[in-house]
Amino acid sequence: MATERHRGLSDQLLAHIETVYDRLEHYGFVPTLTNGIALLFVIWTLFPVYWMVAGSLRTRRELLATPPKLVSTVVTIANYPELFIQRPAFYQFLFNSVVVTVGSTAIAVLFGTAATYGFVNYEFPYDLGRFHLPFLILTTRFLPPIVTVIPLYVIFDTVGLLNTRVGLILAYAAFNIPFVVWMLKGFFAELPDSIVEAAVLDGHTEIGAFFKIVLPMVRPGLIAATIFTIINAWNELMFAVILTSNTQTQTLPVALATFKTAYTIQWELLTVAGTIAMAPVLVFAFLVRKKLLRGFTMGAVR
């Protein structure tokens, strides 16, 4: 009885919502409503970014004005050179970020691509390649990184990797290999088995066939995986903050997170630093916007 009544109620409610929706549609409100919500979403998403970029082009007085000024009266780029004059270490932070990002991306993509190709194309004992290893690699993705970074600090301390860019490069490479493998898995699995065989019959070695025929075919996936790794490495804070502690090795996110001085925040400079940290990833992300979702979902969304 109770469930029947419940069902009646929910059906009534559904019917009611239907009527409201039909009426909205009848008067032509639906497109207005959906476009309105979409516009709100766009404003809500872009405003904080606009606020920082616009802030970097303002004077301090205007940047922190109360009430806030939506549009600048004066646009100035003076804050940009000022950041590097007042904090020359930012050259070093930028350099470190670039080195660590390029190094870790190179290793992660190289090792990750090779491993994916191996898992997909070769037999392994105990179905290691087909099932267990991809699953294990996925599991690493679900580990909270703080779990490994504390023992890693102690390990790095004993092997001398603490406060080195090499240490960060290796750590980031290891953390991005799972992404690379999962982003590429689908691409490699879609290749027909006969491709390598045909190439070998044509006189290529198996290794030659991989470079000349297989790699070009998975290029879109490779580019997306590379850019995804670049973004991850460029953005990472926790490992960098724990494993490095001097300006010689610290990266941009660390510099941003520890920018505050004891008394105030120099927002006119911090907005510049933040904009510099944002710009490259936005450009890279735009280049592969269609494929990026694959990375965020570990390959679950094409």
Binding site: T34, G129, P134, P144, W234, V281
Partner: protein, 298 residues
């Protein structure tokens, strides 16, 4: 001449050897790195967790760290804070994200552009996201201006223990709602038109169609998004580190912040490792539970 042939044989033999072992040559570098940075540290954490660290060195204490952490309140407090953060952030992200996905799946102009804009917060470093919001949380800044009509005077966004956690939830919702939207939208657009049409011809109302036709198509994606966000909020660090460092009055002391403090402010790597392992067990439990509940194949 003979010498040349011999060396050619040697080269061929080398290639043969390479190709015989290719599967290991291809996979071992990656596996080695993963072992060094995931498996070994966890093993090392197990060892560390049985030591007490102090200025005079380290001392073996067995399971004392575990007993201490599980009976004292600090670890539970940080779990509670993380849980609250997770609950609020994930609820808002999933509900808002799915809602916006349905809207964008309807009649919307420039849908492609809106989708591209949705990627923007996702690729910005959490560190920078925290700064974006810190700027807007400034005394008399944008956020005060927006809520101005509802409050008297500036809101202590980050310095009031009863507000600070929600001020951390907001940037996370800002950054991660588009992820939910983009994933669900991708699912919605994969529903074949003819299936919808068939249901419409059968006379199914709009909402019946949504529940019986569309939902099954995106159910797995919703579970995936839930897993991603639960795991994601469990590891939140950068936003807390930049905005509050766990304060005020430990009101935003999430697990990763508590562990960071234990290890790097107090130098007690043993206790921090113990907390890490307890967190690992919880994380694996949650992931396993989701995987079982959803029967989603990975």
């Amino acid at each position: 001449m003979a010498h040349r042939i011999e060396s050619a044989d040697g080269r061929e033999a080398a290639i043969l050897w390479l190709e015989d072992h290719l599967r290991w040559i291809l996979t071992l570098p990656a596996l080695g790195l993963l072992a060094a940075f995931f498996v070994y540290p966890i093993g090392r954490a197990l060892m560390l967790s049985m030591y007490e660290f102090s200025t005079s060195g380290k001392q073996f204490v067995g399971v004392a760290n575990y007993a201490e952490i599980l009976t004292a309140g600090a670890f539970w407090h940080s779990l509670w804070v993380t849980g609250k953060f997770m609950l609020f952030a994930v609820s808002f992200e999933v509900v808002l994200g799915i809602g916006i996905a349905f809207v964008l799946n309807g009649h919307v102009r420039f849908r492609g552009l809106v989708q591209t804009i949705g990627i923007v917060p996702l690729v910005i470093s959490p560190t920078v996201v925290a700064l974006l919001w810190q700027l807007m949380y400034q005394n008399g800044g944008v956020m005060d201006f927006i809520v101005g009509p509802l409050t008297n005077g500036p809101v202590p966004w980050l310095s009031d223990p009863s507000i600070a956690l929600y001020s951390l939830v907001l940037p996370d919702v800002w950054q991660m709602t588009p992820l939910v939207t983009l994933i669900v939208l991708a699912g919605l657009q994969s529903v074949p038109d003819h299936v919808e049409e068939a249901a419409m011809i059968d006379g199914a109302g709009r909402i019946r169609r949504l529940i019986d036709v569309t939902l099954p198509y995106i159910k797995e994606l919703i579970v995936l998004v839930l897993i991603l966000r639960v795991v994601g909020t469990m590891r939140v660090f950068a936003k807390v580190f930049v905005l509050t460092r766990g304060g005020p009055a430990k009101s935003t002391e999430v697990v990763s912040m508590a562990m960071y403090r234990e290890a790097f402010a107090y130098g007690n790597y043993g206790r921090a490792s113990t907390m890490a392992l307890l967190l690992l067990v919880i994380a694996l439990g949650i992931t396993y539970a989701f995987a079982r509940l959803s029967e989603v194949e990975f």
